[in-house]
């Protein structure tokens, strides 16, 4: 079935905000260098699942996690794992683009380099990341311009470039195109397609067509429970579970 080994595997993952349980014993694997989409109606826990993968969830007040998450066989919640270091290996892009407003385009991308003390020719690295994010041509002559002078779609690609600069192994994307217009969305989707040859990508989306377009594997979450996970084509054309079929055919959500 799966030719690729799992980069990330989640076992019995339950997540809580205080007393409220948001994820119920989720077990799934995300293959390396491919795109896994997480779909489901609003409030089903998709973002929370994503934020567990880079241990951002635990920063919320009253947040708690049960179960295990492994990356390359290591338990990322183990005592020997530094969450700060983990977040460099597992990058994230948010729903609304959030470039650092007081910095230029160049400085935004190099921010992670400076932060982590990555030596080398920053200029070359920044250019490479901007190319990878398919933004280079549009900004090459205004690298010093403020990041907020870019359009929404460009800002989002800038955030992707910024995330790529620290050389992560995994890229988490939380509804990355929901705030963008269709043209910008298409550009980002093309980008995802190119990036997956180098990075493991996990994308949360409430847009099923997008999941069908970009992902290799899809996980359907409903009210915190993992209903079904499998190859994207199978989930959309021949799902095993009735609830999955109802969701992907638009009966609810």
């Amino acid at each position: 079935m799966t030719a690729k080994a799992d980069k990330i595997s989640v076992e019995g993952l339950s997540a809580y905000f205080g007393k409220t349980q948001v994820l119920r014993s989720v077990t799934a694997g995300m293959p390396a260098k491919s795109v896994t989409a997480i779909i489901g109606p609003s409030g089903c826990g998709k973002s929370t699942l994503l934020r567990c993968l880079n241990r951002m969830h635990e920063l919320a007040p009253g947040a708690r996690v049960e179960g295990s998450i492994h990356m390359d066989g290591h338990d990322i919640q183990g005592r020997d794992v530094d969450p700060v270091h983990l977040r460099r290996l597992v990058g994230m892009v948010f729903q609304r683009p959030n470039p650092f407003p007081t910095m230029s385009i160049f400085d935004n991308v190099s921010a992670g380099l400076r932060l982590n003390g990555i030596r080398g020719d920053h200029r070359t690295m920044v250019v490479q990341c901007l190319r990878q994010a398919a933004l280079w041509d549009e900004v090459k002559d205004r690298l010093r311009a403020p990041a907020i002078s870019l359009s929404g779609g460009q800002q989002q690609r800038l955030c992707i470039a910024r995330a790529l600069a620290v050389e992560p192994e995994v890229l988490l994307m939380d509804e990355p195109t929901s705030a963008l217009d269709p043209i910008a969305t298409a550009k980002v989707e093309d980008l995802i397609h190119e990036l997956k040859s180098k990075y493991t990508i996990v994308i949360v989306t409430h847009n099923m067509q997008q999941a069908a377009r970009v992902s290799d594997q899809t996980a359907f979450l409903y009210m915190g429970e993992l209903v079904e996970v499998g190859p994207t084509e199978q989930i959309f054309t021949n799902p095993r579970e009735a609830r999955t079929e109802d969701y992907v055919t638009g009966k609810f959500g």
Partner: protein, 336 residues
Amino acid sequence: MEGPPPLLLPDSDNATAARPGDALVATPHRPRNLGDRLWAAGLVSLGGGLAVVAGVIVLALGRLTTPLVGRVHLLEFLKGQDWDPVAASFGALPFIYGTLVTSLLAIVVALPISVGLAIFMVEIAPKGLRPIVSFLIETLAAIPSVVYGLWGLFVLVPWLRQTVEPALARVLGFLPLFQGPPIGLGFLAAGLILAVMILPTIASVTIEVLKTVPISLREAALVLGATRWEAIRLAVLPHARAGIMGATLLGLGRALGETMAVTMVIGNTPEIHASLFATGYTLPSVIANEFAEATSGEHMAALAGLALVLFGLSVLLNAAARLLVKAVKAATGSFG
């Protein structure tokens, strides 16, 4: 016969009977009757009264300074170092110097502490601690100046004289700032007391400014692999920089005008010295000490002139601070 009876008349002193449709025509802002017109007029005059107050302040100060107007040149007044009312010599420089030195010292001490406090409150402190700290900051702000002065005179000054100033002289005595006999009273005492008094001002504004930084910016830094402090440094502080500057200007404005606490610990000598251990005088202090017993019309006019300088400085600072805060608000709107 006319149509149905007219709608409820709002006022009996309205001579014209209301016709159906009148309620649609009259807008809330067009005064339809005497009551409304009086109310509007009253409000406008009260609002204008505020401007009148400002004008009255300037005029009253100006009038009090008239005895000096022909006699002393403005520049001489501001640059003169000699203050001798008996000899009718009025130089304002020692007071301007004292005001600036003590206020700057206050800012230098209070700013890092205030910003540190604000960062702790907004970014680090557990939720339960926050209302307690904020209550304590408000308490600091509510203590009257004369009580600070009392504490300064009987607690701070002896401590400076016996412990702090000798220690500073031993370690940093090569600097002219820390030379001379340590008497406790002087610029250092005044600056430190002012620092305590302007701390709540700077801290509370900085806390408000830090709170406006969106969480998404902090998260943007964290997901790049930043520690909590690095996220604050990278995402929060640059965003808050202009607001913190505004808070500082407000604090500076407060420091400039503080009278009683400073008067009680600064030593009240109209002289300019480089050392922080030296005694000095500030604009508000000399006015407080000498005005009630001014020896001549000219003396009083000179003091009023000092008050005018103080007024000008505080207006400029306050206006600059408000404009800065407005600019920050406008800028924040664009990335909201």
